[in-house]
């Protein structure tokens, strides 16, 4: 059901463009208005969300510790998994954001005959996630060639690495294969395992399908249907230099690609995709394990109802006296 809704939503988006371009001739709307609006919503949505998060304090220092604390000098502490310093925290966050370290820890639990539980290594999710995110990033960076003139030297470098095997013309980018394969895997693992199927929502399938559709339309343009690259660049440059021109004869696939990317940007700040920015603010990861050496202040701390020693002694004075315990008031 969740998959169907996601697929239907995606289909509606695609049909919208096809009808809009082919029947209604809304090139300006889909080519200029929508992309600008999407970038504005993406940026303002995320900033709005970040400010929203920032308005709530972090009242307690609650890192999840994954290694030996820094205590007695002769015990080797774990500088990244139980960071006692800012540097350690930065290291932990870098590993988390760039290499998905926590996910790397993943295990798979199974039962074996004779009532035995075993925990094996389970790296597929980690590998697929890592491949997907890095491919996506490299692909986005490669797209800089459309929106910069002259093109920063990073782009040809990435293209050379990515097209290292020089298969076909234009040469095949490895990331194009990888992103599709990893997305397909990430989609399949949600549907194949009963646990994952149970916990997956529409909001989990939809972005996978959306990004998959973006990747596939891009791949179609590059390898199959072909588009006028120079023309698209001219169009894109028009957008980034705020002198938008609507290109004359661009394949509708390009409009689909562009509209789906815009949809992704708009969808971003209303969805779980916020994990991209939220991970930086996660208090179980971005705080140091120095709780007992540096005091953390809670800005909304307020006095609570307490039971004082005086009240306690008043209640138990006779019994304390009889037991020979020292008293404040005889």
């Amino acid at each position: 059901m969740n998959i169907l809704i996601s697929a239907a939503a995606l289909l509606i988006l695609i049909l919208l463009v096809i009808v809009g371009i082919e029947a209604a001739g809304l090139e300006y709307f889909f080519g200029v208005f929508i992309p600008y609006m999407a970038v504005v919503i993406f940026l303002s949505g995320i900033i709005f969300k970040l400010i929203g998060w920032a308005r709530s304090p972090v009242p307690f220092r609650i890192p999840t510790i994954a290694g030996q604390q820094k205590s007695l000098g002769w015990i080797k502490s774990s500088k990244l998994d139980s960071p006692a310093t800012i540097l350690g925290v930065v290291g932990r966050m870098v590993l988390e954001v760039l290499l998905f370290r926590s996910l790397f820890r993943n295990t798979k639990y199974e039962t074996k005959p004779g009532q035995k539980l075993v925990y094996g290594s389970a790296k597929f999710l980690w590998i697929a996630a890592l491949i997907f995110h890095w491919s996506f990033l490299i692909i986005i960076l490669r797209h800089l060639r459309y929106i910069s003139e002259p093109i920063p030297s990073l782009v040809p470098l990435l293209q050379n690495l990515d097209g290292f095997f020089q298969v076909g013309v234009p040469e095949l980018f490895i990331t194009n294969i990888l992103i599709v394969v990893s997305l397909a895997f990430l989609f399949m693992r949600r549907t194949a395992d009963p646990k994952n199927r149970y916990l997956s929502l529409t909001a989990d399938y939809f972005p996978l399908l959306l990004i998959l559709a973006i990747a596939i339309t891009g791949i179609m343009m590059r390898y199959f249907t072909k588009v006028d690259i120079a023309g698209i660049k001219t169009f894109a440059m028009g957008l980034v230099s705020f002198k938008p021109v609507v290109p004359e004869s661009i394949n509708v696939i390009f409009y689909i690609h562009l509209f789906l990317v815009s949809s992704l940007l708009v969808y971003f700040s209303f969805s779980k995709l916020l994990h991209m920015v939220g991970v930086f603010l996660s208090p179980t990861r971005n705080l140091s394990n120095n709780n007992r050496s540096v005091r953390h202040v809670n800005p909304w701390d307020k006095p609570v109802r307490i039971h004082t020693y005086e009240e306690y002694e008043d209640e138990f004075r006779d019994k304390m006296k009889a037991a020979g315990l020292p008293l404040e008031k005889e």
Binding site: T64, S71, S77, N106, L199, A203, A323
Partner: protein
């Protein structure tokens, strides 16, 4: 548990991971006897000035909630979103990757898909979406939103009291989403409308009044300590001092109340007493701060604060310089991650310095409170105590990292160093079940009741299974730990899943191995059992 207790085989065979139920969003809870806890006793709810004290039980159809209970809950969520960035982040960024799903001991032991941490959090997240997000307001169910109903509330009660706040899921989450944080906050919400459990409420009321969860009054406390002193003298021939409420001592010692009232905690207490005497520590117990544990933290941040406050207050009144805390789990979550914030700064205390070794415990320079394992490890490292390891030779030991010392503090090597210094036979359980990946005993966060026994046995299964592994492989017959709830709840767990394995605190080994000046020849350990190699009749399996 119901009238007939299932055998381990029967219980194991009921676990099914197929998630046969299709859609989690439709709540329906059957309160099956053995899997939930009884409600808080009205008199104690009233004593704590918590709302809606009344006679009720979770299995009742009518929970006698206030008319505006929904409003109270939704306002409560709003208030907490404003106070806790963690809540906002954890509500917004979960991608449901499922990495946490099979990390929860309750899921492993029950197969109930709502015990997957991600779904447990979704129980709240779905309400959050409905009332606090744009997508949820517009798209409703498609966006994973659902309305708050009585059934949802009942589901919250059921599943957020099937979370022991052990934080194992949080370790594996790529964003560090911490179910313990969510559980703490949902339990706060439930308490706003008077939904709570007695095993939490009554200890909190006791602790508020008498200073400890068990409700032991000062003279009773003094009796217990005195009794322990006498028993230690009988066992070792050494008469130790155990001062109580003594002003001017250098150190205040605070341990969980079960240490002086429960077994096997009691042997750990004997270990503390022997050790402090032998190194001549100038210390005192306190009757007012006679509880290190903090069941308040299982109700709300406010009650955590109001119980925890006694430790610093008593340190100040008695004029001590610094504090040592005993072996306890959630206690150390509060002491390590919360105490300084909620009741500090403890500027009337001094940075802890061991009077025996001169070691300055800089890592506790702000809280001024160290863990007994840190204190003892330092003594051993500096050769300040004489130990005879062979006195623990009748034990083959494995160590259960208690959740909070491991995942809130990183207290991992200290207890191992102590065990290895006091015992000859130590075997680790499989690596995915220890240290930061440790499995909970299944009874933490106030769930350790008789009426909840089935769920406890299920939740404790992963731990028990790992113990069974070393039990079969190495003949392990003792499970060591540093947590009072562990010591209370692991023995029945072992008896059920791994018969033949006892439970002990780390300082019991210290007490056994410690060579005390003027002691008699030790023929028995602190339990009064003969020491030395185990009798050969104990079959060893390879």
């Amino acid at each position: 548990m119901s009238d007939k207790k299932p055998t381990p085989e029967e219980l194991f065979s009921t676990i099914d991971y197929k998630a046969s139920e299709k859609d989690w969003s439709k709540p329906h809870i059957k309160f099956k006897v053995g899997t939930y806890n009884h409600s808080g006793v009205p008199k104690n709810v009233e004593y704590l000035e918590l709302p809606n004290a009344r006679k009720w039980q979770p299995s009742d159809d009518d929970w006698q909630l206030p008319d505006n209970w929904k409003e109270i809950i939704i306002d409560g969520i709003k208030e907490r979103l404003d106070k806790f960035r963690s809540l906002k982040i954890f509500m917004d960024i979960c991608v449901r990757c499922g990495a946490c799903s099979d990390k929860c001991h309750f899921f492993i032991g029950s197969g109930d898909p709502k015990n997957m941490p991600v779904v447990r959090a979704e129980l709240l997240r779905s309400i959050y979406r409905n009332d606090f997000t744009t997508a949820g307001k517009i798209l409703g169910r498609i966006a994973g939103a659902r309305e708050l109903t009585l059934d949802v509330l009942k589901e919250w009660f059921y599943y957020f009291y099937q979370c022991t706040q052990c934080r194992r899921c949080s370790l594996f989450c790529p964003y560090g989403i911490d179910t313990a944080e969510i559980t703490i906050l949902v339990r706060e919400l439930l308490n706003l409308v008077g939904v709570n459990i007695d095993w939490v409420i009554t200890p909190v009321a006791n602790s508020f009044r008498t200073g400890n969860h068990l409700g032991i009054q000062p003279h009773g406390f003094a009796d217990s300590i005195e009794f322990a002193v006498d028993e230690l003298e009988e066992l070792t021939g050494v008469k130790v001092e155990a001062p109580i409420n003594r002003k001017g001592a250098e150190v205040l010692f605070v341990s969980p109340s079960a240490d002086y009232f429960g077994t096997p905690h009691y042997y750990t207490l004997l270990g503390y007493l022997a050790l402090f005497h032998e190194v001549g520590l100038d210390y005192t117990w306190s009757t007012f701060a006679s509880e290190g544990g903090n069941f308040g933290s299982f109700v709300s941040h406010d009650l955590m604060k109001s119980l925890n406050m006694k430790i610093y207050a008593e340190a100040k009144r008695l004029g001590v310089k610094w504090i040592i805390g005993g072996e306890c789990g959630h206690m150390w979550r509060v002491l390590h991650q919360y105490m300084d914030t909620i009741n500090g700064p403890a500027d009337f205390l001094e940075v802890p310095v061991s009077p025996i070794t001169g070691t300055k415990f800089d890592f506790a320079k702000s809280t001024k409170m160290i863990h007994i394992c840190e204190f003892t490890a330092d003594l051993i490292k500096n050769n300040k105590i004489k130990l005879d390891k062979s006195r623990n030779d009748h034990w083959k030991i494995t160590f259960h990292d208690s959740c909070n010392p491991a995942r809130a503090m990183g207290l991992i090597d200290e207890p191992r160093f102590i065990i290895n210094s006091t015992c000859n036979n130590f075997y680790e359980m499989p690596e995915n079940t220890i240290k930061e990946q440790t499995f909970c005993c299944g009874s933490g966060a106030g769930l350790g009741t008789e009426e909840n026994l089935e769920m406890r046995l299920r939740g404790g299964l992963p731990r028990a299974n790992a113990v069974n592994f070393v039990h079969e492989k190495h003949g392990v017959n003792l499970l060591a730990c540093i947590c009072a709830i562990d010591k209370a709840t692991l023995p029945p767990l072992m008896e059920y899943w791994v018969p033949g394995v006892e439970v002990a605190g780390v300082h019991e080994f210290v007490g056994n191995a410690l060579i005390m000046k003027g002691e008699n020849e030790r023929k028995v350990d602190l339990r009064g059992e003969p020491i030395g190699e185990p009798e050969p009749e104990l079959e060893e399996k390879q």
